[in-house]
């Protein structure tokens, strides 16, 4: 044997020779090396033929090795594997029961249909074999066969044989029969293959006492899943019987027994007996915690469910859940969860001492959870809240560790919410640590406290300004929102802080691109300018009580989960169907299926409810795969294959010129393309765009940036049916090609086309078909880019007065340049239809229309007592919201 012969071919050849050797020892050694190579992931399937030759060997050890090899590789060459059938059949008739069982077991594991057919005859024989070892192996072969060919199993009536085997004298045969029947029943819930009749129950409970630990689990699991007691008496008897197994040292037996007993106890009417049964559970469940760490984790996840279901069971045992220093982190976390479920007014001092200890440990996440748990105790137990708050304050004052302080402040915010006006005395101590807060959530919590108790904190406005306002733009979203709200609350409490609130509102509404922040800013702004008392009422409204337990399993789910103790469901706390789908394993793909499902989940509601999605940056790529979700109408995928209609560019001279074939540089368009928002990113192609106006025509400004490695040689540009009947005049972004790294700025002029009209929302869905596939995105349309410019005032007047709906009113802060507002609105083609000046009140009515949509737009600007107001009215109503928003933009 040479160790240096490393070429693969040489190795395989060497093994082939070894297997073909006449010396049994060499043969065996070579076979072991083959298996070794198989385990290491080397492909040794080419040896199949040489291995098959040796199947007739009488040496059991060699036979086992050969069979092991066959199970792995016969699938790759089914034709060759069928040659093994004769040897299998011969072995299944061997005088040695070990050989008979081995042959049958291996044969059934080779998942090839032809082999399954050959198996029927020996399987019948082995199910009735006189040796129980062969029988119990044969029983599981039925399950394997059902997986390959269910019809064959039904035809051959193997399941009937299994039912008779339930009364076999050997417990292993019985439990394997139960396992097989249960497995088939689980995989095919629509059938009635396995039903626990009183007769079968009798057999199962008889086997239960004799079976091995594994057999007991099988029987108990089957009982928990499918058995319903017919009478309280029956339940009592069985519960009594099962309770014997609670003291088993196999943790899984304990869990399976527990779930059967809990389930049975629901059918027992004698409450004393139920009480006695439940008491029996306590010690075995506690003993689960002394097993090895991974098992402890499973036990704790299960105990979590049991404690939620039966809180009284373990409440006196809380100390067994205290963490040991050498517990793995995942065990500690679970223990903490259960401690929080069991804590009450009596044991809270003990628990707080423990939690204080945990706060000094090294695992950051565990420490944070412990600190947070102290706060949860406070929220949970009003009687102990004072003690808990003292503990938290002690931690804040003494802890050198930054994240302990931050976590404490986060949870103190919740305590304040739970007990308003009770613990404000500690606020001063909190603010001494204000400079140490660097995590968003901690900062946001601090700001919340600041706003909430602005009237009691001296110089709250200064604190906010000094510590939080400086880097407003760089703060995370949650902190920005907190600052915004707090500044308004502070203003309501301290009117002298008006400059502060104004500057915050200004930043929030003008200098941010976050729609949530901007909208909230606007709401506060208007609220404050319209009615301060209302603002006060809204902002200081009583808050809903905060939930005390965040992670409780809902009651109905809990009831469903109890029969699944010990299984995956009980660990992930989800009902089976959602925990992991049963049935065949998924095909391995390069894309993790989880991510994909997540994307769909996120997008489906938006399109189903037809709600207005936020403008821009909406990813339609995922939806594009699902045609049902998007109604693209005439804009179906097939439409892309037809040639683009010839452009009839009226205002698009430059485009038609380009399409004439002169690959000149695109003409300069007077528009700032750099300011366009990004709408889509697809395979390296970046699309920026927005609706606007060019030469008084509705235009879609588009920047098409090719960051991919492929030159773009063709494009087709379309709109989906939209609320505005818009249709692009050109479908082409030429001249081509657009080389990698190049970008193309175009202004696509849009027409109205009634066939494109379908009221969907403020967004227009845009599709660009190019060499890299379809790029889809949504662009927010602008009403003010659709308006007319050649209206005559006298014709407009009656139309304007016909619009009745008053849609929106908002006031304008700076009323001094009232005429400028009128100017601005007029610049969009609005004509003045009415003007009234009377008693210091000036009212100007402006009108415009969009004939393609039958839309009438009326804007009234009113100046009274130096207060300006803008009222807009539209018809149809779906444009109101949009017009209002756009007016806000041009007026504020």
């Amino acid at each position: 044997m040479s160790y240096f012969n490393t070429t693969k071919k040489g190795e395989i050849q060497e093994l082939r020779e070894g297997i073909g050797s006449t010396n049994l020892r060499t043969k065996k050694d070579s076979m072991k090396r083959v298996i070794g190579a198989m385990m290491a992931g080397t492909d040794v399937s080419s040896l199949l033929a040489s291995v098959l030759v040796n199947m007739q060997t009488t040496d059991l050890e060699l036979k086992k090795l050969i069979y092991l090899y066959l199970v792995n590789y016969s699938k790759s060459e089914p034709e060759l594997a069928v040659h093994a059938v004769n040897s299998f059949l011969k072995d299944a008739n061997d005088t040695n029961p070990l050989v008979r069982a081995l042959a049958l077991r291996t044969m059934a594991s080779i998942r090839i249909e032809q082999i399954a057919e050959y198996m029927c005859e020996p399987l019948h024989r082995c199910l009735n074999d006189k040796d129980p070892y062969v029988q119990k192996t044969a029983v599981l072969c039925v399950a394997k066969m059902y997986d390959i060919n269910p019809q064959l199993v039904e035809d051959e009536k193997f399941l009937d044989t299994l039912h008779t085997l339930l009364s076999n004298g050997n417990p292993l045969v019985v439990t394997n029969s139960v396992a097989t029947l249960a497995e088939i029943q689980t995989a095919h819930p629509e059938t009635t293959i396995f039903q626990i009749t009183p007769d079968i129950l009798q057999k199962m409970s008889a086997a239960l006492s004799q079976a091995s630990e594994w057999g007991q689990i099988t029987i108990l699991d089957a009982l928990a899943a499918w058995y319903t007691p017919q009478s309280p008496k029956e339940a009592e008897t069985l519960a009594e019987r099962v309770s014997i197994h609670l003291s088993h040292n196999n943790s899984s037996v304990v869990l399976s027994s527990t779930k059967v007993i809990i389930k049975l106890s629901e059918y027992i009417t004698d409450l004393n007996l139920v009480d006695k049964l439940m008491k029996k559970l306590t010690q075995p469940l506690v003993s689960l915690l002394s097993s090895f760490p991974e098992m402890r984790y499973i036990a704790l996840r299960n105990l979590n469910l049991i404690v939620q279901r039966l809180p009284s069971l373990l409440v006196s045992e809380i100390s067994v859940f205290f963490c040991k220093y050498n517990d793995p982190i995942y065990v500690k976390m679970e223990k903490l969860e259960i401690i929080m479920l069991l804590v009450n007014e009596q044991n809270v001092p003990q628990v707080l001492n423990e939690l204080k200890e945990y706060a000094t440990e090294v695992d950051i996440d565990f420490v944070r959870k412990a600190v947070s748990a102290i706060g949860r105790c406070a929220i949970l137990l009003p009687g102990a809240a004072g003690l808990c708050v003292d503990t938290l304050v002690h931690l804040i004052e003494t802890s050198q560790v930054n994240f302990v302080i931050q976590e404490a402040i986060i949870v103190i915010k919740d305590v304040f919410r739970r007990y308003p006006n009770k613990y404000e005395s500690i606020i001063g101590k909190l603010f001494s640590k204000i400079e140490e807060l660097d995590e968003p959530e901690a900062r946001a919590s601090m700001i919340w406290i600041l706003g909430e108790y602005a009237d009691r904190i001296e110089g709250a406005d200064n604190i906010l300004e000094t510590y939080f306002l400086e880097n407003f733009a760089d703060e995370p979203h949650i902190v920005q929102m907190a600052i915004l709200t707090a500044s308004v609350k502070i203003f309501l409490a301290i009117p002298s802080s008006q400059p502060l609130v104004q500057s915050v509102l200004k930043i929030a509404t003008k200098k941010t691109d976050n729609p949530d922040l901007r909208d909230r800013g606007f709401i506060y702004w208007r609220l404050l300018s319209v009615n301060k008392d209302m603002a006060k009422a809204i902002l200081n409204t009583p808050k809903p009580p905060i939930s005390t337990h965040k992670d409780l399993v809902p009651k109905d789910v809990l009831a469903e989960l109890i029969p699944y103790l010990g299984t995956l469901s009980s660990v992930v706390h989800k009902v089976p169907d959602s925990a992991a789908p049963t049935g065949q394993a998924p095909k391995q793909t390069s894309i993790p299926s989880g991510d994909f499902a997540f994307q769909q989940e996120e997008l489906v509601p938006a399109s189903q409810t037809q709600s207005y999605p936020p403008p821009t940056s909406h990813n339609f790529d995922a939806q594009a795969n699902d045609e049902e979700l998007i109604d693209f109408g005439a804009f179906g995928l097939s439409a892309y294959n037809t040639p683009a209609p010839a452009s009839s560019g009226i205002d698009l001279d430059f485009l038609t010129g380009m399409m004439g074939g002169t690959p000149a540089a695109p003409p300069k368009i007077d528009y700032n393309f750099d300011a366009l928002p990004q709408l889509a990113l697809h395979e390296g192609v970046c699309v920026f765009g927005q609706f606007g106006q060019l030469n008084r025509k509705t235009t879609f400004f588009l920047r098409f940036k090719n960051n991919s490695a492929t030159p773009i040689t063709r494009t087709d540009f379309r709109f989906n049916t939209n609320s505005f009947a818009l249709k692009p005049q050109s479908a082409d972004l030429g001249p081509f090609p657009i080389q990698p790294g190049q970008q193309r700025d175009v202004a696509i002029s849009c027409d109205f086309d009634q066939s494109q009209l379908k009221v969907t929302g403020p967004d227009v869905q845009v599709g660009i078909q190019c060499d890299l596939g379809m790029i889809m995105f949504a662009a927010r349309a602008k009403i003010l880019s659709l308006t007319q410019y050649n209206l005559a005032a006298d014709q407009s007047k009656p139309k304007a007065s016909s619009v009745k709906n008053r849609n929106a009113t908002h006031s304008i802060q700076n009323a001094s340049n009232f005429n400028e507002f009128v100017q601005r609105v007029s610049s969009y083609g609005f004509v003045e239809t009415n003007r009234m000046v009377k008693d210091g009140l000036t009212a100007v009515q402006l009108f415009n229309e969009i004939p393609a949509l039958n839309a009438l737009l009326v804007v009234e600007l009113i100046l009274k007592d130096n207060q300006a107001q803008c009222v807009s009215r539209t018809e149809p109503e779906y444009l109101a919201q949009m017009l209002n928003e756009e007016l806000t933009h041009i007026l504020v």
Binding site: A40, R105, W214, S251, D365, T582, G583
Partner: protein, 207 residues
């Protein structure tokens, strides 16, 4: 139930495996284990995790990981106990369960598994019952530790004069055959007197 059982080394590479049900592709198991267990954030590591709707049940013993995978709502507590008791059975066979002893006896381990688990269901873990079905003997690792010298410095080369090297040197030479299963490590030593040494070999060769 249990679909396949793996024994993995410290780095998550498979030492051996046994596929009981053939319903889960095994190609990515080791990779997923490394990504979701070994390289996971400390606070997110759980002994049970799900990847692509396949459940992974892990049990650490010594420097090895025993991994059971399964599909659907399997009884993870049972699988965990099976893994734990499997180690116990191996102990009765090899005395000490280490990566080395598992590699040395891999065909015996596979044969044992074949008897202990069928189609994912635990059959018999009883050592006496197993002995009736499994005939291979284990290669017991001889105790290689040097005996403590009874009185201090006594040369074990008693018949030759004591050898002193100016520099104590060890030359290891490792040869891998068939990837990782068959390995040999040869060491030439030039060591003065009776030195006790320990040698740790880690293999982390990308396959």
């Amino acid at each position: 139930m249990l679909s396949s059982l793996f024994i993995l080394d410290e780095t998550g590479r498979s030492i051996l495996y046994r596929d009981f049900r053939g319903d889960i592709p095994l190609k990515h198991v080791s990779r997923n284990f490394i990504a979701h267990f070994l390289e996971e954030d400390n606070c997110l590591v759980k002994p049970i995790f799900i990847v692509d709707s396949v459940t992974y049940v892990t049990h650490k013993y010594g420097d090895m990981y025993f991994l059971g995978i399964g599909h659907g709502n399997i009884n993870v507590a049972t699988v965990m106990v099976m893994l734990n008791k499997f180690v116990d059975v191996l102990k009765t066979y090899f005395g000490k369960v280490t990566e080395e002893s598992v590699r040395d006896n891999f065909s015996l381990v596979l044969e044992l598994l074949d008897e202990m688990v069928d189609y994912g269901y635990a059959q018999t873990y009883d050592p006496s019952a197993l002995k009736a079905a499994v005939f291979q003997r284990s290669h017991q690792q001889a105790d290689t530790r040097a005996m403590p010298p009874p009185t201090g410095a006594v040369s074990w080369r008693q018949n030759v004069p004591p050898i002193y090297y100016e520099h104590n040197k060890v030359y290891p030479f490792s040869a891998n055959k068939l990837r990782s299963i068959v390995q040999s490590l040869r060491v030439s030593t030039f060591l003065s007197q009776r030195t006790e040494q320990s040698c740790l070999v880690r293999s982390k060769v990308a396959s």
